[in-house]
Symmetry: C2
Subunit: 251 residues, 2 copies
DNA sequence: AGATCATTGTGTAAATTGGACATATTGAAT
DNA sequence: ATTCAATATGTCCAATTTACACAATGATCT
């Protein structure tokens, strides 16, 4: 029979789950591209996803919210749990220890860990990237240009993107990726960035307007070269309705 | 800073992850209804989902395969990880300890656990239900009649069904729920059972045949009252293709 | 001031897909 | 031979999706 560790209900406030971590793939949208927020380890050129540990006294969703808050300064963000990564060989702990010695205590990372993946969609412009205790830089990377990542974080990123695309295919998404007011081409480029393919602007506009999730404002965006585009904003009530319908919403 | 437990690479073969479990929702299909496999605790009238612990030296997918194998005798089954349950108040450990004392060592269950959920689709007729060390009965329940479940297993079951329906809506499913040869009405009733609604037989047949995932055999099912229905079998190659397309496949 | 130019804004027609719908056939049971 | 309950099957209409091109705008450049 498998051995079970016996328990103790009174935890130190910050005591965390052993061998269980949480990784966040934070997506933003800027200049027509999908971006992802990455951390650079202290005095190294190694990058990884923001992550952390789950406290004994905290829901895992709250742990994800806390970690996101710490890295981006944002509250009330769109967050989805998408997969739990638990292969025995998720990463080579020897290699990791070589790369990160002097930053972390390698013994603390020798145990195999299982990691719960969350992805978030945030308003790029509202984020204040903030490194954690192990890292000295936190910044956005274009999805097309992400550097090599530590651990199995590249796999996690791929799976997050796949899950996001799937979600996009049956639900409206983007409430959290765009600013309060946005133009139709901006919204379209967001969809293009997520889906990784071109969309016909006429068909896109027709579909989005018909769904009712956005409202055209009596206002155009000034100061851009070329023709001034109209501004739109999300109709929060309708958006919520469509979400709850589970209404298939495929672009 | 959060405390980390330090590690040890050499594990006893059966040593498991602390505070992390795995629960399986095993779906079968029989007599026109979707069934789920449940376990009854020794000398109690309490039921729960089959589950278990994850070994230190095993992939979580392999742990799910092992647990399924132990409960059903089956290999090579359709298996999907669908969600990880990690609320602090997933269940009341005092209540649990009252209900299950003398069966389990309550100390072993006092720790809050996080549970990874998998669902499986299996061929009902091929299963040999087999209780585990804590239970004395393992049997199929009709989805409409499941008894009250321990822990948060009812929530897990609901979420599994929801995930299955979602998957059914963009992928062909059922390779593992039907026998080698099956009739069109059987397949249709399987879809109806999963989706929980009636389907038009003409439209269903049109759609399934057009997708190419099944092949009509030169054979009818004999010995049934009324008109003998034709037999079909899955075209494994085409089925795989459609799966890999991610081809939307909505009934 | 006028020309340039990249970007926005917009409609229609064809093709495809989805949904509704009813009746003849079969073969076991009586 | 009749009954009966389940199987097998095709058409039409509606809705949705896709393909496709050009005029309008307004900042920028000369």
């Amino acid at each position: 029979m498998a051995k079970l560790r016996t328990g103790n209900l009174d935890f130190d406030n910050e005591e965390v789950f052993p061998q269980l971590s949480l990784d966040c793939v934070i997506f933003g949208f800027h200049a027509g591209s999908l971006k992802v927020l990455l951390l650079k380890w202290k005095s190294r050129e190694y990058w990884s996803l923001p992550g952390g540990w789950i406290r004994q006294m905290e829901d895992i969703d709250d742990a994800a919210i806390r970690i996101l808050q710490e890295r981006t300064g944002l509250d009330h963000i769109f967050l989805r749990q998408f997969y739990t990564f638990g292969k025995t060989e998720r990463y080579d702990s020897q290699e990791l220890s070589d790369k990160l010695s002097y930053i972390i205590d390698p013994r603390a990372w020798f145990d195999r860990t299982i990691s719960i993946g969350y992805y978030a969609l945030v308003d790029y412009a509202a984020v204040f990237p903030n490194p954690d205790e192990f890292t000295d830089e936190c910044r956005w990377w274009d999805l097309e240009e992400v550097p090599e990542l530590l651990f199995d974080h590249y796999d996690i990123l791929k799976k997050a993107l796949h899950s996001l695309r799937l979600e996009l295919s049956y639900q409206p998404v983007g409430y959290n990726l765009l600013p309060e007011k946005f133009t139709m081409p901006e919204m379209m480029r967001m969809y293009e960035a997520i889906l990784g393919r071109k969309i016909d602007p006429r068909n896109f506009q027709k579909k989005i307007l018909h769904s009712g999730i956005v409202t055209k404002l009596d206002e155009v965006k000034r100061g851009v070269a070329h023709k001034s585009p109209y501004l739109y904003s999300f109709d929060r009530k309708k958006y919520q309705e469509v979400l709850e319908d589970g209404g298939l919403f495929i672009i």
